[in-house]
Amino acid sequence: MIGRSILGALVNLTKPGMYVHWGFIQISVANLIVIGLMALTFILAIAIPFHRKGGRS
């Protein structure tokens, strides 16, 4: 229950979702955040060096 309360404080799921309107484009903020996280992960996956055993990258 404590965990649920903490998560509930972070994201209120009982109210209608928020949407971004840009011309004919309409997307929920939740989906926009996920797309942003994917783009960020993609960039980090390319930028961060991959260390192998022995410390070489």
Partner: protein
């Protein structure tokens, strides 16, 4: 002793007969297409030392969790999560592994798109991956309309007009819960698993596409396959 011993010697006529058998021909063809050392390689090319190459494997890992949690859910039925905390947990695992599955698959797709991963006779590898993505969208959609709640009703009623406008609604009725559940737990998972298996076999056969620096044109991209000298996998 003599009764257990088999005579392994055979005449040339027998050998010729065996080599004509369809099982022999299929086995030889398969081994020729995909030798064991290429199917499960000991070493990988050095260019794989980048985080961008892990997202295909992560997608497969998420798919494994999806299938396992889906099998557990199928034991109790689609309404289990309404009445049981364990059901809610397994259902949540199923949902979040789907989120992870698409998250990793999209990054895998972006990475392969910018690598032009269809180079070096890898067109079918790319195509099977793209089709797997599309079939996965269908599998996810039928899952969302099988939640047995107001959300699934809303999605189904919103989707029916779009699907009916394509003509597909004649045999794919999103308002038919039983039909959607069958598509979700039988037909589409079989399709996703089959295509994923095919995709992996093609990756093993052709090898992972090298970066542009190592293979500027198609000819050199063909040479760099997964079993060349490199780092231990």
């Amino acid at each position: 002793m003599t009764t257990l011993e088999h005579d392994t010697s055979s005449s040339p006529e027998e050998d010729a007969e065996v080599s004509k058998q369809w099982t022999t021909r299929i086995r030889r063809r398969l081994v020729e297409m995909l030798p064991p050392e290429r199917l499960i390689p000991d070493r990988q090319p050095s260019f794989l030392s980048s985080w961008i190459y892990i997202f295909g494997a992560l997608t497969i890992g998420a798919l494994a969790i999806i299938i396992l949690t889906g099998m557990v859910l199928s034991l109790e039925g689609p309404g289990w999560w309404h009445t049981s905390s364990l059901g809610l947990f397994v259902n949540s695992m199923h949902l979040w592994s789907v989120e992870l599955f698409f998250f990793c698959m999209v990054i895998h797709l972006w990475g392969k798109f910018f690598m032009a991963a269809w180079r070096g006779s890898r067109q079918l590898t790319w195509i099977t991956g793209a089709v797997t993505f599309l079939v996965s969208v269908g599998a996810a959609f039928t899952g969302y309309v099988s939640q047995t709640n107001f959300d699934s009703q809303w999605i189904a009623t919103q989707a029916k007009d779009g699907i009916n406008s394509t003509g597909v609604g004649a045999f794919f009725n999103v308002l038919n819960f039983g039909q959607m559940l069958m598509w979700h737990i039988v037909l589409l998972p079989v399709g996703v698993l089959f295509l994923t298996g095919l995709h992996i076999l093609m990756v093993r056969r052709r090898g992972i596409v090298p970066p542009f620096e190592d293979g500027v044109n198609d000819k050199s991209a063909t040479v760099a396959s997964g079993t060349q000298e490199g780092t231990p996998s």
